[in-house]
């Protein structure tokens, strides 16, 4: 026997083969859990929202306001409020986040970056309830109250600014990544033609990174639409809201309406279709943010393909 090498000697020990196979199956299983979650998520949204869609008197979805207890589910109220807060949020987060991104990518020394980046990351880690508190007790009286004396204690404007602050780090980091991805050659070519730094940043790097910057704005918009606690706390309406298109009044966004439905006096599982309306609004919210994220993904992919 000795001296001859058999096939068995070259094969991996059965115990190791078994271990390998088990590991593979277990890991595949964990990866598939995320798919199961998505399926269950979509299924749960549709199954409950369907009851609402079938059972609702459609006239009540286009009425004077969002009064679930009276059976009035005016989606226009929620849409307009969401649009207002998101618009204000982007007006705050867009310029500040973009300026921070250009500075960090093009101007900042490595020492400044080492200090600033963690600070932005900490701002990104502040829980949204904290921003809600800040929006209600600081932004509303100190900023919005000064702009318009008639503004209510909590208002869409205050909530919008709060959401904007929350999304600054997102705009900054995604935009910065896009600008960092622009090859150095382009900057050097610009400098070789005698362009100054400000011109290189604004006329060379900015257009080259525009896809990524647009993506950062879309992602931030999607995030702002889905942000709940800031608008729930500082949006100035509880349980119900009449239609308004004034930023200085209180109203309910889609997310705030959901939080109100779940925590209000009726609680989830109230009479009629309140429980189902929760899922209906959730489904709309899911669809809108999903589409925005897909579009943003397309833009990011474009940057990756080019460089």
């Amino acid at each position: 026997m000795s001296g001859t090498v058999t096939i068995e000697d070259l094969q991996t020990a059965p115990r190791r083969v078994r271990k390998e196979r088990n590991a593979k199956f277990l890991l595949l299983f964990t990866a598939l859990i995320s798919v199961v979650i998505s399926i269950v998520l979509v299924f749960s949204l549709f199954s409950e929202a369907w009851d609402f869609i079938v059972g609702i008197d459609w006239a009540s979805t286009w009425s004077e306001g969002w009064y679930p207890r009276r059976g009035l589910y005016d989606v226009k109220t929620l849409f307009v409020a969401t649009l207002i807060t998101t618009g204000i949020a982007m007006a705050v987060a867009g310029p500040i986040g973009l300026a921070a991104a250009i500075y960090l990518s093009e101007y900042a020394s490595s020492r400044t970056r080492a200090f600033i980046k963690p600070v932005l990351e900490i701002l990104a880690g502040v829980p949204s309830v904290v921003l809600g508190f800040f929006a209600l007790f600081f932004i509303a009286p100190e900023i919005i109250g000064r702009l318009n004396e008639d503004a209510s204690a909590g208002s869409l404007a205050a909530a919008g600014v709060g959401v904007g602050l929350l999304t600054i780090p997102l705009v900054a980091s995604v935009s910065e990544d896009a600008m960092k991805a622009v090859p150095l050659d382009l900057r050097e070519a610009g400098a070789g033609l005698g362009a100054r730094k400000s011109v290189i940043s604004s006329r060379v790097v900015f257009p080259a990174a525009i896809s990524g910057i647009v993506a950062s704005f879309i992602v931030a918009t999607s995030r702002a639409i889905g942000e709940t606690m800031v608008v729930f706390i500082a949006g100035g309406a509880a349980d119900s809201a009449g239609y308004t298109h004034s930023a200085f009044e209180g109203s309910l966004t889609m997310t705030a309406a959901m939080a109100s439905l779940a925590s209000g006096t009726d609680q989830v599982k109230g009479e009629g279709l309140t429980f189902q309306s929760l899922f209906f609004v959730g489904l709309l919210l899911f669809a809108i943010t999903f589409m925005l994220n897909m579009v943003a993904d397309r833009f990011v992919r474009r940057v990756q393909e080019r460089y």
């Binding site: 269950v40 502040v126 904290v130 007790f137 940043s201």
Partner: protein, 318 residues
């Protein structure tokens, strides 16, 4: 040779000389730069004002009765001596523990599969896109998922509107974050480490276990810490799965497993509740600010450790 001497226009020569000599006066460039710095400065200012404002509001409570505040419970009046955040701390503690037990192994396992095992086919691409989409779903929507699955469908096992339902919902919420950050850390592992191990006959799992995971561990840990900090700061899904607003009858201890099947609150819910109460009883604003300081200590500590860890990790690799 004088620059511009080939030009026969004397004025042009002067202008070019001027432009070159005047190195530092670029008014438009300075304005642009100042504008950028202003944006950055605003971001820093906001963070400072936020922290100062919250600490200032909460200082009264924190400086006079910090111990009682930590051991007290939810009360209907802000001047109640027993007002405090104990129930919230217990809720947040169990949420952190559950996400660590549920989301971390699943998330890291999925990341290992996608980076080390998965063939490049349509199923893999689908799983990856799916995870990215899940990461973008608003947190309230996860609340609906939790309400449907854990509270209603499996209510018998989870206790319905219970701490367990809430913690499982948040585990699902942070799962994509864990997968994405762990994948990045695994991808950053040098190929030579893997090839060396394969060369001496290691199986795939042995390569993962002995080479990849130890190398990627700091990066994976960074992601898990960020995910945990996200989970304890999240409030919207908890409201959806039925966090108690108002008074909570029970006040379990930290290690009381029975609390998992009971109704619950968590720190962000306590903050929301007190902020909203401040309308009828202004004293609650101070209590809410104090609770925010307590929550921020935990969240910012987790974030700072994660950032430090990642920076050291990146330095080592360079």
């Amino acid at each position: 040779m004088k620059i511009g001497s080939t030009l026969n226009d004397g004025k042009a020569t002067d202008r070019i000389n001027d432009e070159i000599r005047r190195r530092n006066s670029d008014p438009r460039g300075i304005i642009f730069r100042t504008f950028l710095q202003l944006g950055l400065f605003l971001a820093l200012l906001i963070l400072t004002v936020l922290l100062v404002d919250v600490v200032q509001n909460g200082w009264g409570t924190l400086s006079t009765r910090f111990g009682d505040f930590l051991s007290g419970t939810l009360r209907s009046r802000s001047i109640d001596e027993k007002l405090g955040v104990h129930q919230g701390l217990v809720g947040s503690f169990w949420i952190a523990v559950t996400t660590a037990i549920v989301a971390f192994p699943i998330g890291i396992g999925a990341a290992i599969y996608l980076e080390e095992y998965a063939p490049k086919n349509r199923l893999t691409r689908f799983i990856e896109i799916n995870i990215r989409n899940l990461a973008g779903v608003p947190s309230v929507v996860y609340g609906l998922l939790g309400l449907f699955i854990f509270v209603n469908t499996f209510g018998k096992w989870t206790g319905g509107k219970s701490l367990l339902s809430a913690a499982l919902t948040l585990s699902i919420l942070v799962l994509p974050i864990v997968i994405i950050t762990a994948s990045e850390a695994i991808r950053a592992t040098p190929q030579s480490l893997r090839e060396g191990a394969y060369g001496v006959g290691a199986t795939r799992w042995e390569v993962v276990r002995r080479q990849v995971l130890p190398y990627a561990a700091p990066g994976i840990l960074t992601g898990t810490l960020l995910a945990m900090s996200r989970a304890i700061g999240e409030a919207a899904p908890l409201i959806l799965v039925g966090a108690v607003t108002g008074r909570l009858g029970t006040n379990p201890g930290f290690l009381d497993l029975g609390a998992l099947k009971e109704r619950f609150v968590a720190m962000p819910i306590v903050i929301t509740e007190w902020t909203q109460n401040s309308g009828r009883d202004p004293g609650f604003a101070g209590a809410a600010a104090a609770a925010i300081v307590v929550l921020l200590i935990f969240v910012l500590a987790l974030n700072s450790i994660a950032i430090l860890l990642r920076n050291r990790f990146e330095k080592r690799r360079k």
